[in-house]
Amino acid sequence: MRIGVFVCQCGTNIAGTVDTEAVARRAMEYADVVYATSYVYTCSEPGQQEIQRRIKEMNLQGVVVAACSPRMHEPTFRRAVERAGLNRYMFEMANIREHVSWISTDKEANTRKAMELVHMAVAKLRFNQPLFSSKVPINKRVLIIGAGVAGIQAALDCSDGGLDVVLVEKNPSIGGKMAQLDKTFPTIDCSSCILGPKMVDISQKENVTLHACSEVESVSGYVGNFKVQIRKKATYVNWNACTGCGECVRKCPSRKAPDPFNEHLATARAINIPFPQAIPKKAAINRDYCLHFTKGKCGVCKKICPVNAIDYDMQDELVSEEVGAIIVATGFDLFDHSVYGEYGGGRYPDVISGLQYERILSASGPFGGHIRRPSNGREPRDIVFIACVGSRDASVGRPYCSGVCCMYIAKQAILTRDHLPDSNCYVFYMDIRSPGKNYDEFVRRAQEEYGVQYIRGRVGKIYPRGDRMVVQGADTLLGIQVEVEADLVVLATGVEASAGAGELAEKLRISYDQYGFYMESHPKLRPVETNTAGVFLAGACQGPKDIPASVAQGSAAAAKVQALFARDAIETDPQVALVNERTCVGCLKCIMVCPFGAIQSKTLRDGSIKAEVLASVCQGCGLCNATCPPKAIQLQHATDNQILAELNILCA
């Protein structure tokens, strides 16, 4: 084989701590290498042209580029060699940036390691074979998990593009956290008035299948051809019949069921419709509180339902859906405000979370939109807001900024002053973070027009005095300790990853960071993709976000899906397992270890049993390769011979 080696300097990124010229000179000594050079930016257009020119001039049959991580530029260089007439798999990449130049300043050692990595790549390349992908058709349906504003936007955009959409929501209604909000910053428009029409659209689109009260049970398959099992949880109400008239809710005698939509400031009936604008507007029974299930009697709802929709024998149902792409839009949870023992959230009824206050402000909330203290129902006069509760605090494991709290406090303070002009609002803050369009102006208005008093400093303690709360903190601008007596304290609870985020990530085989937020494929350049082809992200499941950003990402994810579906077929990755039938003994151990069900047995004409890989299902993990006793099953592009060739160099 005639091999060419291109050692990238990456400006000074590599050349600063690796002698790239020396690496190239040494490469000339390796077997089969006929050309080696060092180049300043190999990935640039002239850099790629240089590779292509040399392939033609020197009749190169294989190319090694020693540069950065293959994650970003392996596809770039594969295309480059392909354009010069080589098979794209006659290319190898040695990572001498992330694995060498960026992690050590010892130039001599770095250069030595870079030489070894290049040598390994050359040794492997000598065993490379041209590989060819096949085409499989794309199932042009999309699954969207989570129907908050990001998922709704993604669903509507996909639907408008003519795609069949399967929308899964774990709660009884779509709408997510935005449905719980009263108004939105910085325009103070009514949250349900702007979200409501979108929710109604979802219910009216013929190409959107909505599964509410449902969760994704399992996911198999691959981009273009996913198979998804969805668990539809038993609601004990036949939703095909239920008209959402609410008669059952009014007559239900069990009034102490939790009301998560109102953030537990109120209680709900055991059979309930979460809120007036719910989509779908259907009742569901909470069996932990239903007298039929707990005491074995009652049955009022069953008797009263005009359409006979109550079904106490309903079971969870598993539904299978086949889709070609998945958008994950599972949103976020709020930080648990009882974690700060010194604030007494959860112990003192008048110390509440930001979302609880949102429900208090809402006309559909527990107090009909009148601001009242949860303890005694009286109107508060002095209200204190505390920023960064569960944000920017490493001691509670939340060192990141939640991004939305500064804004929602300003909004809530403005609304408070609107509702109760005689009230006094105080905000304790660390810094004000308001970088959006018209955001800082909005905070200014809270301070200047609405007279909200901003105090820069942390609160150390909240305690009751009489029936009021004393907020004790620091004013770091005045350098003094301050105490504010308040009737109501709102903790601006931060954003954290949704409770089941990790579990779902494992089903989808996508990664998440140490806080549970899903990892995008590249923090700047691939913010919507995951590292699993065909799985995209939208909204706060990827990191704290406000509504405009969530909507934008929802649309972006929908655009990505439509770009994927613009083709009728996708090329499969040929880096999959392949069985050598002459050596396969038909033990079928490979079938047992394959996590993807990608191997089946077949009987040849002579009656012998052999394993057979379904190339379109295989993910190239290599488990079968490691398990196979006679080594008959080999992972293409990472065969035993190729790995051994690399190891021989490393251990030489």
Binding site: Y340, G341, E342, R347, K461, I462, Y463
Partner: protein, 310 residues
């Protein structure tokens, strides 16, 4: 060859420290009585020495570690795996020594100074940790013969008992509840006390006692507001500031607090039916006679009720 003492399961090494020999001797006396009543044998560490207190660790943490390391090493030689101390300052010093020992960068210097064999297989706990985690509130409740039913008591934890959290590894750092639960087990009513971890001013009592006057006054005021008849503490310095300096606080605030401040072990002793004299209650500066009166009246009433029923 030295005889190896193999202590029983309910036997722990006891390190009372200097405070409990002098100012806080009633803490020592009552702790011993209560542990005895709960079936825990306290074995005083033979030839124990001072932990060095604040001066040692503010001068050189290694000095502090070595001073406490000696006491730990003796206890370990005696075959103990737990040493209990009621004084949070001493506990901090003992735990500090273990922390230094476990730090690979400091271990060598520590052992060099110590000049004694030391494996570090010993654990340092507070009296509260022993009562709350090892013995448990259920066992304490079962031992009660004279429940403190008619008393309203607030627990005051101070700064050190649960903090810093990673270091002390006991109870909630901002809202500790161990003493609350113990007092409830004794039958007392325990109002929510928001100032249970507010600073008492600590050693400023010596150098700038107006600070202690101000801070301690707030704590006493809050105890009063929530309707407490007495405060329970578990730290000699807290007790000193709240009790000994209560007269100074009264002068500073022009108030007339008369709030008895007892060690948790003294309350436990009373509930276990131990005579007040055996618990050192006569040593308090703010007399607890009012409490004792309430308790004895309650006892009489119970008897008379019992008499009628018989």
């Amino acid at each position: 060859m030295p005889v190896e003492l193999k202590p029983k399961k309910t036997t722990v090494a006891y390190y009372q420290g200097c405070s409990l020999e002098q100012m806080a001797s009633e803490f020592d006396v009552s702790t011993r009585v209560v542990c005895d009543a709960l079936g825990v044998e306290l074995v005083e560490i033979p030839d124990w020495s001072c932990c060095g207190s604040t001066p040692a660790h503010s001068y050189d943490p290694l000095l502090s570690a070595a001073l406490s390391g000696r006491n730990l090493a003796i206890a370990e030689q005696q075959g103990f795996d737990v040493v209990m101390t009621p004084c949070p300052g001493c506990l901090k010093a003992l735990k500090g020594a273990l922390k230094v020992f476990k730090d690979p960068n400091k271990r060598e210097a520590f052992l060099e100074i110590l000049q004694m064999p030391f494996q570090g297989n010993i654990q340092a706990v507070s009296n509260l940790q022993l009562y709350f985690e090892t013995i448990g509130t259920e066992a304490i409740r079962n031992r009660v013969t004279k429940p403190l039913t008619s008393l309203s008591i607030v627990p005051y934890y101070g700064c050190l008992i649960s903090r810093p959290p990673d270091f002390m590894q006991f109870d909630d750092p901002e809202n500790p509840i161990s003493m609350d639960r113990i007092l409830e087990a004794l039958g007392a009513s325990v109002p929510e006390f928001p100032f249970k971890t507010e600073c008492c001013g600590a050693t400023y009592g010596v150098t700038r006692n107006e600070i202690v006057g101000k801070l301690t006054g707030r704590i006493l005021d809050m105890a009063n507001r929530v309707g407490a008849q007495a405060i329970a503490v578990s730290c000699p310095l807290c007790q000193q500031n709240l009790d000994l300096r209560q007269a100074q606080v009264n002068r500073y605030w022009r108030r007339d607090f008369h709030m008895p401040v007892l060690y948790i072990s003294q309350f436990m002793g009373l509930a276990f039916g131990v005579e007040p004299e055996s618990l050192g209650i006569d040593k308090l500066f703010v007399e607890a006679d009012s409490l004792l009166d309430i308790l004895s009246r309650e006892g009489e009433r119970d008897q008379s009720v019992g008499g009628k029923m018989a």
